[in-house]
């Protein structure tokens, strides 16, 4: 429990989730410091939502330990939910209730409720207050869910792919709202999303899941610093297997007419300088990668090794 101290908003320690014989997540460990934004990334079926369900106390992991603010969410779900705001992957609510009724219902449950804030956000998102939830568009449902999640003035915001199905405008509005929240209250955020551009602008730390295993768990800046696209010409095929190339830790090599392009995960200026100066290597260049490119390199068909 030493790692789950008061500085951590949430912590997963070797968490395994199974559905029958299928393993959704295996021995996943990571923690999110208070006030930070953690992006948990992965392809569909990587196990993100299963881990979120465990975090929210909606499912008990088969193995491992989950804590939120030092407490077990399975045993203390109701109490912890008063400190959490949740936007689920598929926002849901009683279909016959209007947004206003849902907000009124939620206001009775939280110790402190920012009713004005909810109203303001619903207006800003243009979510009609008197239309039953079942008749709202997918984007409106997501926006309502975000407004409700923020209404309880949460210490931890859990967003499970909140941009799923949202158009560009709605997506932008959602991220703006989050940025504003972070700026005002310093809320801790755990976010899963396929909108890696939006994530890149917000996240402090990134975890990348592949087939239930956590490949990456590190600060976004560190991640981006060690991933580069390296292109070079070579006069000798042995360059690919050379020690100087291995020092850059290449994930993928792509041969082209003009030379070779490699995505490396162990980039450093020194290692690159040694590689560029190695015999048989010419015109070596290194360019930074976006989070999306790193994600594709790691989780694409050919990727996998961090």
């Amino acid at each position: 429990m030493s790692s789950h101290d008061g500085q951590k908003a949430l912590c997963l320690d070797h968490v395994t989730v199974r559905y029958g014989k299928a393993t959704a997540a295996e021995a996943v460990s990571f923690s999110v410091p208070r006030g930070s934004v953690y992006a948990l990334l992965g392809r569909n079926g990587a196990g993100k939502s299963s881990l979120i369900r465990c975090l929210l106390g909606q499912r008990k992991p088969q193995e491992g330990e989950v804590t939120i603010f030092g407490e077990d969410p399975w045993s203390n779900r109701a109490r912890l939910m008063a400190r959490l705001g949740v936007v689920p992957e598929e926002p849901d609510a009683p279909p016959d209730m209007t947004a206003r009724q849902i907000a009124a219902f939620c206001s009775r449950l939280y110790p402190s409720w920012d009713g004005n804030g909810v109203e303001t956000r619903l207006r800003r998102f243009a979510v009609p207050g008197d239309v039953p939830f079942g008749r709202l568009s997918k984007g409106q449902k997501g926006q309502l869910a975000l407004a409700l999640a923020l209404g309880g003035l949460p210490e931890l915001l859990v967003l499970d792919d909140p941009t799923l199905g949202l158009d560009v405008v709605a997506r932008k509005a959602l991220f703006e709202e989050l940025v504003e929240e972070l700026a005002e209250r310093g809320t801790t955020v755990l976010l899963t999303s396929h909108d890696l551009g939006g994530v890149e602008a917000m996240a402090d730390r990134v975890g990348i899941l592949k087939e239930g295993r956590l490949l990456v768990d590190e600060p976004l800046d560190d991640l981006k610093a060690r991933f580069r696209r390296v292109s070079f010409g070579q006069s000798d095929a042995t360059v690919h297997g050379s020690e100087t190339m291995k020092a850059l830790d290449p994930l993928a090599l792509k041969q082209a007419a003009w030379g070779t392009e490699a995505v490396v995960s162990g980039f450093s200026e020194e290692a690159f300088a040694r590689f560029a100066a190695a015999p048989g290597v010419s015109d070596a260049e290194a360019s930074p990668l976006s989070l999306e490119e790193i994600f594709i390199a790691l989780c694409g068909e050919e990727g996998g090794r961090p």
Binding site: Y19, Q58, R77, A78, P88, D92, D96, Q101, L109
Partner: protein, 658 residues
């Protein structure tokens, strides 16, 4: 609590339309009552239909809402909205089930409202539903509050059942097969247990056990529904597991508890009796058949063959209106009737230290059966539905059969014939039948007919007849059927006479001018008659086998006198009790010397066991160990040593003495 009330008010708010629908349904009784061709009055039809519609719709709503209000969201995994809020799992479940209950019961009330406002006849209809005569005797007397409570519990049960069944059905899990298997297994346990109680005539045990089962089932259904939400949450598989584990473990506890309760209820030994209130002794006095209510078993009577010397016993399963057990003349065998739907004669070998009940394979058709064993016990006479049949109880072979009297379509008449018919197997070859034909009116006279049935020739012969008898007639024979005592009761006066067992001829009147109250045969063939209870000192008259008066005994104290037994030849154990006290009076026990007429006090505060004997075809005093048995006013069965007066309690009774 905040979560519960929030969920409850939300669910109620979402179903506001139900109230409007209920109000519309409340107008239907007015339309029904106005339909042409109604046999009953307008108000009666309106109120009755309002009650029916209200009760039915409340239960229907409980089923529909119970199956959907939570189950659908669980099945469609839409519960995450509530689970992502600070609402406890129990509050999520209880809020919804509470809404189902309020909507079901509330809608029923709304449906009743218009009819109540219009006429107010509902109170009368409700009162009609609480009439005692319309409720089976074995159920508690109904009252309006009880009926309302019963309805509330029914609605809750239906809602919980629908919720659990709906959720299980939607899960479509292969584990449903296991659920079904457990359900069938527990159902079989409950059925077998219920059948065992039914067969043991333990009606109140069955009612109490069923009530326990319903309570456990309701608790199991509610707990299972709650467990599914609190432990399963969004995990359908875990939810099903939690539901099944809770449901079946509680149901198993209920079923096994019911089985254990039934076993405890019926597995009674003589020491469990709260007292002995009826019985009979074998001719040799080694065994007695006794009956009494068992402690903590809702006064359910149990009957035992009991050896007062060794304490060995065999529990019988008779019904009270069936034949009393019959002993063979030598006391080696006892027969009785068992079974409810299929009535079979059972037998026990009383020479064994611990007799066991054995089936004879002989079935009796009617409820009015009389049994008589031959002196050796190797032959059995059965009078049932007017037919006398003779069997070998070992193997159940029928030896002969003869029609004695016609079976009446009216059971009452048949039963009277049964009561007035006495059969005795005085030897191995013939059966004596003495039948009483009471006067059919105050002006008419009654008669007694005497017949003999020869087993070998299968011939029934009339041997004697007594006509011109009046009043209530009672007949009791000696063990050889050579004599019988005839008692005629005309108003308060008894006329008691000794009659020849073959012809019915008068041998002597017993007591002064025949006014003896009761008479019993002695072991060596004589008989003893008692005086009518008066304030004067009680008397005994001892007669020889030929009917001649041998001795007159003045007991020197007033009261009811009862000759209890003949503990040894020439000695009688006689009780004299306070006049007017009927049930287990605290008597003074005296030992009377029949030769000299002297007597001495043995013990006080007891009643001879014969006081509680079933009315029997014979009235020979008990001898042997049974002759020493007496009953205390609290129902205790006590053995008395006539020499010392020492008392040993064999069965401790707890009756409240009157």
């Amino acid at each position: 609590m905040r979560g519960f009330t929030a969920v409850l008010s939300r669910e109620l708010g979402l179903r506001k339309a139900i109230w409007a629908a209920a109000l519309v349904a409340g107008l239907l009784p007015f339309l029904l009552a106005a339909l042409p061709g109604m046999t009953y009055g307008y108000a009666e039809v309106r109120d009755a239909s309002a009650l029916a519609i209200a009760a039915g719709s409340g239960e229907l709503l409980a089923l529909v809402l119970g199956a959907t209000v939570l189950g659908r969201e669980l099945a469609e995994r839409r519960l995450s909205f509530d689970l992502a809020r600070p609402i406890g799992g129990l509050a999520i479940w209880a809020g919804r089930m509470g809404a189902v209950l309020i909507l079901s019961l509330g809608s029923a009330l709304v449906i009743l409202l218009p009819a109540t406002l219009a006429g107010g006849g509902l109170a009368a209809l409700a009162a009609r539903a609480t009439v005692r005569s319309e409720v089976p005797w074995y159920l508690p007397a109904p009252n309006p509050l009880g009926l309302v409570l019963l309805y509330v519990v029914t609605v809750l049960f239906l809602a919980a059942l629908a919720h659990v069944l709906g959720t299980l059905g939607r899960s479509r899990s292969p584990w449903l097969l296991l659920d079904a298997a457990i359900f069938v297994t527990l159902g079989v346990v409950v059925f077998l247990t219920g059948r065992a109680l039914y067969r043991a005539e333990a009606l109140f045990g069955l009612i109490d056990g069923s009530l326990f089962l319903v309570i456990v089932a309701l608790a199991a259904l509610l707990a299972a529904g709650a467990a599914q939400v609190t432990h399963g949450r969004t995990d359908a598989r875990a939810g099903h597991r939690a539901l099944s584990a809770t449901l079946w473990s509680l149901c198993a506890v209920g079923a096994l508890g019911f089985a254990g309760y039934a076993r405890w209820f019926t597995n009674v030994s003589p020491s469990d009796l709260a007292g002995v209130y009826a019985g009979q002794a074998s001719p040799d006095g080694r065994w007695v058949c006794m009956e009494g209510p068992a402690r903590h078993r809702r006064d359910l009577p149990f009957r035992f063959l009991y050896n007062p010397t060794t304490g060995a016993f065999l529990r019988l399963r008779p019904r009270w209106w069936r034949a009393n057990p019959a002993f063979s003349g030598n006391g080696s065998r006892c027969v009785w009737v068992e079974g409810r739907d299929r009535r079979e004669i059972m037998t026990a070998d009383l020479t064994a230290a611990h007799p066991v009940a054995e089936r004879t394979g002989i079935e009796v058709a009617g409820v009015d059966s009389r049994l008589a064993l031959s002196p050796s016990g190797r032959r059995l006479a059965v009078l049932s539905n007017g037919t006398l049949s003779v069997y070998e109880p070992d193997g159940g072979k029928q030896l002969a059969s003869v029609h004695i009297y016609g079976t009446d379509t009216l059971h009452k008449l048949n039963f009277e014939k049964y009561l007035g018919s006495h059969i005795l197997f005085p030897d191995e070859g013939s059966v004596a039948i003495v039948r009483v034909h009471p006067p059919e009116s105050d002006q008419a006279t009654g008669s007694v007919t005497i017949q003999r049935f020869d087993v070998a020739s299968r011939k029934l012969a009339a041997t004697g007849r007594i006509d011109g008898l009046s009043g209530q007639l009672l007949v009791q024979l000696n063990r050889t059927a050579s004599r019988f005592i005839l008692r005629e009761r005309d108003g308060a006066a008894w006329t008691t006479s000794l009659r020849d067992g073959t012809t019915g001829a008068l041998l002597t009147l017993l007591g002064p001018e025949g006014h003896a109250r009761e008479a019993s045969f002695l072991a060596e063939g004589g008989l003893v008659a008692t005086s009518v209870a008066k304030t004067e000192p009680s008397m005994l008259w001892i007669y020889g086998e030929d009917g001649s008066l041998r001795q007159t005994v003045d007991l020197e104290r007033a009261g009811v006198v009862l000759v209890g037994s003949e503990p040894r030849p020439g000695r009688l154990l006689v009780a004299v009790g306070p006049p007017g006290k009927g049930w287990f009076p605290a008597c003074s026990l005296l030992e009377v010397d029949t030769a000299s007429g002297s007597h001495r006090a043995v013990a006080d505060g007891l009643t001879p066991f014969t006081w509680a004997w079933w009315y029997s075809d014979t009235c020979t005093l008990p001898t042997g160990p049974a002759a020493l048995l007496a009953l205390a006013p609290d129902g205790s069965l006590v053995r008395v040593d006539p020499a010392t007066g020492q008392q040993t309690t064999l069965i401790r009774g707890t009756f409240k003495p009157k």
